[in-house]
Symmetry: C2
Subunit: 426 residues, 2 copies
């Protein structure tokens, strides 16, 4: 078989499995997921053996230590995967919910009902626990998954998927064998082939660095839901409680700088810049955060004593997700300029205003065109768990389909059901 034939077969099998998955009841799905969780723990040794093969090859190929750590599976991480699956069992089934209902004058009853999407492709990088997480969320929402992890995690991913499938089949005879599939070849060309099969694949969700996501979006013919990066802002308004502003800005920047909902740019209204900038710069300096400043902020901060790491911000910096102890700082003239800055330089991910002024807050919340906008709260809350979704399969900055954190509900589509007693159109 050619690569195209192999990939086509994979996608076709997934589509057939998705038809079977759509028929499963909540309890059937949950029974399978519980069995999968148990099997992951029971098969920990087999999984670790497969992972050891990946680790060995990765070490030989010179993968950096941080990446090796992400690739590694031990008992604790395997238990973590199992726990994740059990949490998914506990979540409500997102399928079959009545989203809207109406009876037309002719008596035709229309119901808008949530359904699975069908076949979901997940493309991701090295962490093999994503295999279990993504497969379980797709399974609970009635979707067949095609998983394409990093080639360095191939053995681990295959064994995890195999373990889940075997466990499902053991407790449920009609378990669709191809509900969860790992792309079994590392060829780069597999991705464009798979994402060209619009007749079988309904959605692709790439997770990883901007380069990976752009490459996927560029070649895909199926819908892609994604976020390229998180260039998040905190705007300290003229009417901000500056103590609150400091708390929020510090949390957004340094609580966990390497994640997508961390702040990359601090905007400060010029009316409070004199007072706020020295205060926050001192706190950020204590955490060794480098500040890339616009000329106004630079003029103010360079007067200060202390060990601030100051740099003039370059145009490109305002677009940059550092994921590091680096922060852009700009002094702006009012809400409008803050909004304009965010809509131009931002990534439509998560942005926050700190203010006591309701009109300013409303303007900001309405006009900032981002997936998630906050008033007096840290940008760090953009997360499925923090939103009460129970689990998260990704975050979207797109506007078609899901936007913001994506949990089980965001893995569904809907259909319209019309129930009549012989209605015809006149």
């Amino acid at each position: 078989m050619t690569l195209t034939e192999q990939i086509t077969q994979l996608a076709k099998q997934a589509k057939a499995a998705s038809r079977e998955l759509a028929k499963l009841s909540t309890s059937e799905k949950d029974k399978c997921l519980s069995a999968m969780a148990d099997a992951l723990e029971k098969n920990a040794d087999v999984i670790k053996d497969a992972n050891a093969l990946d680790m060995e090859a990765a070490a030989k190929s010179g993968l950096p230590a941080a990446m090796l750590d992400r690739l590694k599976l031990d008992d604790k991480r395997i238990s973590g995967m199992a726990r994740g699956l059990r949490e998914v069992v506990a979540l409500p089934d997102p399928v079959g919910k009545t989203l809207d209902e109406r009876v037309r004058p002719n008596g035709l009853k229309l119901q808008k009902i949530s359904t699975p999407i069908g076949v979901v492709v997940i493309i991701y990088e090295s962490r093999p626990n994503v295999t279990a997480d993504a497969a379980s969320l797709c399974f609970k929402s009635g979707n067949a998954t095609i998983l394409r992890g990093g080639k360095e995690a191939m053995h681990s991913n295959q064994v995890i998927a195999r373990t889940m499938i075997e466990a499902g089949k053991k407790v449920f005879a009609q378990f669709p064998e191809h509900a969860i599939q790992v792309v079994p070849m590392a060829d780069r060309e597999a991705i464009p082939i798979l994402l060209g099969l619009t007749q079988y694949v309904d959605l692709c969700m790439p997770r990883g660095g901007e380069g990976l996501i752009r490459a996927v979006a560029e070649c895909s013919k199926v819908p892609v839901i994604k976020h390229y990066k998180g260039v998040c802002h905190v705007f300290v308004d003229a009417d901000a409680d500056l103590e609150m502003a400091e708390k929020i800005a510090m949390n957004a920047k340094v609580q966990r700088p390497a994640v997508c909902n961390a702040m990359e740019t601090l905007l400060v209204d010029k009316k409070v810049a004199d007072k706020f900038l020295p205060q926050i710069a001192q706190k950020l300096g204590e955490k060794k955060v480098e500040l890339r400043c616009d000329p106004t902020a630079m003029a103010q901060l360079s007067k200060l004593n202390g060990q601030l790491r100051l740099k003039a911000a370059a145009e490109q910096d305002w677009f940059t997700e550092y994921n590091d102890y680096i922060l852009n700082v700009r002094v702006v003239d009012g809400v409008k300029q803050a909004v304009d800055h965010i809509n131009y330089y931002g990534s439509a991910h998560s942005d926050s205003i700190v203010t006591r002024n309701e009109a300013h807050a409303k303007q900001f919340l309405n006009e900032v065109d981002s997936a998630t906008v906050y008033w007096n709260a840290s940008t760090r809350f953009t997360d499925g768990g923090e939103f009460g979704m129970g689990a998260e399969i990704g975050i979207s900055t797109d506007k078609i389909g899901a936007r913001g954190p994506m949990g089980l509900e965001e893995l569904t589509s809907y259909k319209w059901i019309g129930i009549g007693d012989g209605q015809v159109r006149t």
Copy 2:
């Protein structure tokens, strides 16, 4: 300016206009739309003059009479456009609705609020009234539109858009000039350029024949919502009320055969085929419907006297949207075979089961993977107006974003708003 520069400018202007549109109140939008409706009627002569230019060129180029008729604008059609706009005024604003609301244990209040999508590109064929319809629905939902009609309607489309914009500006000083734009050049390459500008364009909705829609989907880098064709089915179950089945099948086939929600294939359970097939064939024969039969149906129907137009169905026929007095007929063995036929040959548009058997109905409604599924009703109801949406901008057979008929609500996205009093993540 190169073509790419011109198109980029257009898209950039649309994005800027979309930011302004998102700020408008319902009453501001409605005031503009009412003024636009009046202006279309008041400017009827100017519109007819522009249309005459299009008609003349089209006649010269040998456009068929049916197409010429679709292109033509007269007072009645112009009043129809104005009436359409006034109907949009009467519809509720789909933006700013609270779709979900929750307060987290830390006191953070999360609201999921409907928003405009942003910039919507509509690509369509010859009927110039689509210009007014689509622009008004996008405007009411706060979206900037870029309209690309057929080149044969260029003058008409330009004047309609111009009339609407001028009217909006007259009654509302902050009316965003570029809220409604018609692509001013007929170059084919304009479409792939426009649909490559993912930083400015949020959605494309092509409307027209399958060829146009496939070409758009093929080249687009922005999300496309569409339906390629309507291969709709009626399945007459073993437990059907055959009188009702006849009424529904006749309505689905002949009430208006040229539309996408008309039936193309009739599936009959073998248990009732003996009885039902002769009865429906006779009625269809009276309407001069050609029947393309599977071998079983053929064997039964060819025994009958009468003037039936019978043909053996070819494999390709089951995939075909005739939009004509032609119907495929197949005898199937139970619900499962009907479902499998529909999911394989259908276009995921609209399919109906006629039955008294609730279990059969539920199986059909659950397992047929189409945008709209009916129980004891005609497929012809798949329509924004019939669904009570008030107006329709299209029908989607996609699963990401809107599915089924699309009205104003389906032209929205959402954002999450988090309101706190200083919450930070721990």
